[in-house]
Every structure is written in C-alpha cells, then in structure tokens.
C-alpha cells in the first residue's frame, strides 16, 4: 500500500474475526446469515449488532444447512452476502455450496476452522484444506479459497473474496483458524475500491419488461449437463491462470524454502528471521490463494532451492498439491503439526537440521 493511501485510511486495533466483518461491510455486504459455532462467534455477533443500522439483514438460522440456502436465495437476488462457520458447520453447508457452484451464484463463506475430524476440538487446525480446495461437496466444482495470515489480510482478503466471487459467479471461501480469528493486531482499514464491483444481469428481481429467468443447476435435456460442466471447467481454468497469489518472503538466495499458509506461515516468518541471523539462507513461499494454488511459483522455486519444507497444522494435505507442482519429490520435506500450532523454535530446529544435512 502506498503511503498516501495508508494515510487516508484508518489504523484499527482489533481481532481477525472483526476485521473480516469490517472488510465485508466496506465491500458493500449488507446481508449476513449464520449459526453459532466456536471459534467464529465474534462474526455473527458483530453483524447482529451493526447490520440493522446499515439497512442490512442479520438472521440467525436454525442450522448451517438452512444458512447456506438463505445465502443462496439472497445471492440469487443479486446482493452481496456472507456467512461464517467452522469445520462441522462448513460440512453441513457442502450441499448448498455445490448447488451454488452449479447455479453459478457468488457468496463469501468464512471458515474459522477448528480441529477435526468429527467434533474434534476448538484448537486451531488446517485440517480443512482438502475439503476447501478440492470442492467439498458433490459433483465436481471448485471454490476460490483465500488464506489470510494476519488481521490485515482478514480485512483485505475479505474484500477481494467478494470481488472474485462476483467476477467469476462462484462462492469464495476465507480459510482461517482460531489464531488468525482471535488474535488482535493493528491493521490499516484501507477504503474499498468500488471499481471492482460488477453488474449482475442474471439476478432474479421479477420479470419486469423481460422474459422470465431461472437460476438453477438441473440440466436434463440432451447433453446440457456435459456442456455446463465444460463451461464450469473453463471458468476454473481462467481462475487458475489469472488469480493465483503468493507472498515471497526472504527468498533471495534461499536454499531452504518453507511452503506454508495461514497461521503456520505466520509462525514460520519468525523462524526464518532467526535462521537468517544464524546465516542459514531460509525463506518462504506463502500461498495466499489455496485455490487457485500458486503452481508456477512452487514449480520454479523447487528448481532453485535445495529443500522445500512444507509446514501444515495437519498430517499432510497441501503437501499433495506441492508434489503435483514438481517432479523433484526428493527435495520436499514435510513438517506436520495436526491441530497444534508449531513453535518458531521447532521450525528453526528443523531448518538447522536441513541446513546441516545439506552443508
């Protein structure tokens, strides 16, 4: 961000979950529906307190199943709409997300994920990676998945999620966890750029002076469903080509490159700084978009470093996508901390070990 833009923006100290709400409201979202689940309750509570005064709608639904379908109805009406939940609730939304992807309806779905499977626990986890990036529901589709690693990104990526969802007419997910959701830090509340908003000529608003219109995912006639699948596929390919985002962190001359997202990446930054002080050339490629995965960046990086250290708060999910990016599998090392936050100390220890092995 330029100094000028920053000076025109407000500096705010708040929790990640609240930053999501601020980003959504700034992006023009006036409709929020949800169902309580830890650790994301700050989001519905904020929306319940603030949306009515903005002329918007807050509704606590009877379940996440109902929630995602209320979202579907408001999205079909052409309005920006958001929900938030955590693992078990996100699982209940998969049916509706599949229908929305099939019906080409945009919305922003926030997953402040917790440990699983099942009821799991409320500890932060990255165990929902595969569910988020590989579709999650039935029938073959993709969500756009953004992975913030700071309160700042909880704000800016929420605005981006609305823009991308509308641009591609598909649901977008913010994949966070209890750490980025609950931690407080200052961020710059930069104004939303309305140039990114698009018209929605497909919205159902009553057929005044036009033919009636349907929003649907059922295609029974001839080969209509095959045609529809190819259309969706081409859309996902465009997203793959144009929307992959990643942060390169201290990669200059790096021989050991961490690949991590979200909280795992945030902790890794400290370990990398310590390693650099010790003279170890460590750096990180941090995927900001998980779908689309920054395939080209990972592929190029694999050719230039000795080791790709993939760190995840699960037993190995994103590492599968990293392996897809390069044939150099012997350079990939995995550090998994299922449902546990890795400490910078243990990451540094692993970096030292890898440096020693190479040195």
């Amino acid at each position: 961000m330029s100094a000028l833009a920053a000076s025109a923006s407000k500096r705010i100290l708040t929790k990640g979950n609240e930053a999501i709400c601020l980003g959504a409201v700034a992006a023009g979202c006036r409709h929020y529906y949800g169902y309580p689940i830890t650790p994301q309750n700050d989001i519905p509570e904020y929306m319940a307190a603030h949306l009515p005064a903005l002329g918007g709608t807050f509704l606590q639904a009877e379940s996440e199943v109902a929630t995602i379908n209320i979202i579907l109805g408001t999205s079909a009406s052409g309005k920006r709409v958001m929900t938030s939940s955590s693992g078990p609730g996100i699982s209940l939304m998969q049916e509706g997300l599949s229908y929305m992807a099939g019906s080409e309806l945009p919305a922003v779905v926030v997953n402040i994920s917790r440990s699983g499977p099942g009821l799991g626990g409320i500890a932060p986890s990255q165990g929902d990676y595969l569910q988020a990036v590989k579709g999650g529901g039935h029938g073959g589709y993709r969500l756009i998945v953004l992975a913030p690693h700071s309160v700042q990104e909880m704000y800016t990526l929420t605005m981006l999620a609305f823009d991308l969802a509308d641009k591609y007419r598909t649901p977008a997910m913010i994949l966070g966890d209890a750490i980025v959701g609950q931690m407080k830090e200052p961020f710059i509340a930069s104004p939303y750029d309305p140039a990114s908003t698009v018209e929605k000529p497909w919205a159902l608003t009553g057929c005044v002076g036009r033919e009636r219109r349907n929003v649907k995912s059922l295609h029974l006639k001839d080969n209509a469903i095959e045609v529809h699948n190819w259309k969706l596929h081409e859309k996902y390919e465009r997203i793959r080509k144009d929307e992959a985002r990643a942060e390169s962190y201290m990669l200059d001359g790096a021989t050991i490159a961490i690949v991590a997202f979200g909280t795992a990446a945030r902790v890794s930054k400290t370990a990398i700084q310590w390693a650099r002080k010790e003279g170890i050339a460590a750096g990180m490629l941090r995927p900001i978009t998980l779908f689309p995965f920054p395939e080209r960046e990972v592929s190029e990086l694999a050719r230039t470093v000795d080791v790709l250290l993939v760190i995840e708060m699960n037993t190995g999910q994103m590492v599968e996508d990293v392996r897809q990016c390069t044939p150099l599998h012997d350079r990939i090392v995995f550090l998994g901390k299922p449902c546990v936050i890795p400490t910078p100390e243990e990451i540094l220890e692993r970096i030292r070990l890898l440096a020693g092995r190479k040195g």
Binding site: H31, Y33, T57, L59, A61, E62, S63, V65, A66, T67, N69, I70, I71, L72, G73, T74, S75, A76, S77, G78, K79, V81, E95, G96, Y99, S103, L204, T205, G206, C207, V208, G209, R212, R213, N214, V215, K216, S217, L218
Partner: protein, 259 residues
C-alpha cells in the same frame, strides 16, 4: 379475473391465465400438478404479481414449475425451499415470494426449514403438494404415505410399527405462532377447485398485507405410482385421503403481529 374477450360473434369467457406458459404438459395423465399450476397462475394474475414474483422450485416432479409458470424462479436443494425463499424475501421484501414443494421435500427432508420459516413468520407463501408418495424417484414411501399403502419401499404396506404415521403438516404448522394462514384443500372436483382457489387467494393476501407465513396443502394424485387409473385416483383422494387429511382452514390470522 380474466377479462372477457370478444371473438367474432361469440364471447370468450375462459382463457389461459397470462402467467401460465403455453406449452404441452409433461405430467402423467391424471396428475394434479397441472391443475395446481393453473390455480397458482390465476392467483398471480389476480393480484398483478407476475412481474414482481420470485418462485422457488424444489426437488421432485414439482421442480418443473419453471417450465409452466411465467415468473422468475430459483431452484432449491431438496427440502430447502423455505430457506432459499427466506433469503430472497429478506433481500427483496417488496417482491412476492412463494415456494412449491412436494411431500417428501417439505415433510421429510425439509421439516426443519419449513418449521423454522413458519415460526419466524417469514412473509412468504408455501404451496404444498401432498400426493402421499415420491413421484419422481419412482413411488417410494413419503412421510404422508397412508397406513397400509403399498409403495416401492413399503412393499407390504406402510406399518406404523416400522415406518411411523402419516404427518398432517397443515395442522402441525397451524400450531406455530408465526403461521398466519394454514389450510388443506383438494382439487378432485370442480367445487373443490373453486374452494382451493379461495384458499390460495387468502394465502397470497396474507403475504401481500404483510401478515406473515402462509401455507396451502393440496391433496393430489399420483396415478402412475399409485398404480391407478386417473378416475380411481380421484376417488382415493375423495375417500381415504380426505378421511385422514381433513380439508379445511386450520389457522387464519386476522391482525398482523406488531412489535
């Protein structure tokens, strides 16, 4: 209703409702969907709602609503139409919103959504088609299947010891504070069709005047899956179905709730 149009020397006293699309029906002979569609279209026309209506189609034979009713329609997952309709109505409170749901959709997989939409007093109208079976999937047991009724999944007849009892949804929903209007009608005789129209008008008027949630349950036929001729199917509605599912108005709010 329909304006009388002079054609040559004779006078047309009956025309297709404007909101009913002029296409061949794909429904089975003796099925009531066509009759109910026509009543819905007539009510939409009566209140001049065609250009401000958003319908919600559910899963089952009823999904093809959008091929027959000339209004904007959004498709819902199975049972979720009241939630989808809630999302449409909350986003566009000035629009007329209705759902069109079968018995498997509304009374089995969608019980949670229908009960909570009614309990919130969502200002929308529900058209509920009860034909005591799953038509599109080939005649399996529905929550409204009669005791003793043979279906493809109750080959020896529905037995309450294994399958429970048929649910009376119109009565159940009438018990909720948020429900403004709940009625059950049939369309097996011309007199019943006239009464059904009166009930659906009441339901529409409830929404138009902001009174809250309204539902009309239509007892309907499925000759194909009942294994009956169309006329036998009508007799079944008039006989055993009406005995178990009595026709009538179970709730009619006179005044809107005010905070």
């Amino acid at each position: 209703m329909n304006p009388s149009v002079k054609v040559g020397f004779s006078k047309a006293v009956y025309t297709r409702p404007r909101s009913l699309v002029d296409v061949k029906s794909h429904f089975c002979p003796g099925c009531h969907h066509g009759t109910i569609h026509k009543i819905v279209a007539e009510c939409i026309d009566r209140y001049g709602l065609r250009e401000k209506t958003i319908g919600v189609a559910c899963v089952g034979c009823s999904v093809f609503l959008y091929d027959y009713i000339d209004v904007d329609v959004v498709e819902s997952p199975h049972g979720r139409a009241p939630a989808v309709a809630t999302g449409v109505k909350r986003a566009q409170p000035d629009k007329f919103v209705f759902t069109y749901q079968g018995d498997g959709d509304l009374a089995a997989i969608g019980t949670s959504e229908i009960i909570h939409a009614a309990n919130r007093g969502e200002n929308l109208s529900v058209i509920f088609v009860n034909n005591t079976t799953y038509g599109m999937t080939g005649g399996q047991m529905a929550p409204t299947t009669m005791l003793g009724q043979k279906t493809s999944t109750t080959p020896y007849g529905r037995d309450f010891r294994n399958d429970g009892y048929p649910i009376r949804m119109a009565e159940l929903l009438a018990g909720l504070e948020g429900t403004a209007y709940s009625a059950r009608v049939a369309v097996s005789t011309p007199a019943q069709i006239r009464k059904a129209k009166v009930s659906l008008r009441k339901a529409f008027e409830m929404q138009i005047s902001g009174m809250g949630f309204s539902i009309v349950e239509f007892l309907s036929t499925c000759p194909t899956n009942w294994g009956m001729k169309p006329l036998e199917a009508q007799k079944r509605v008039l006989g055993e179905m009406t005995e178990y599912f009595p026709l009538g108005v179970f709730k009619e709010r006179k005044q809107a709730d005010v905070a």
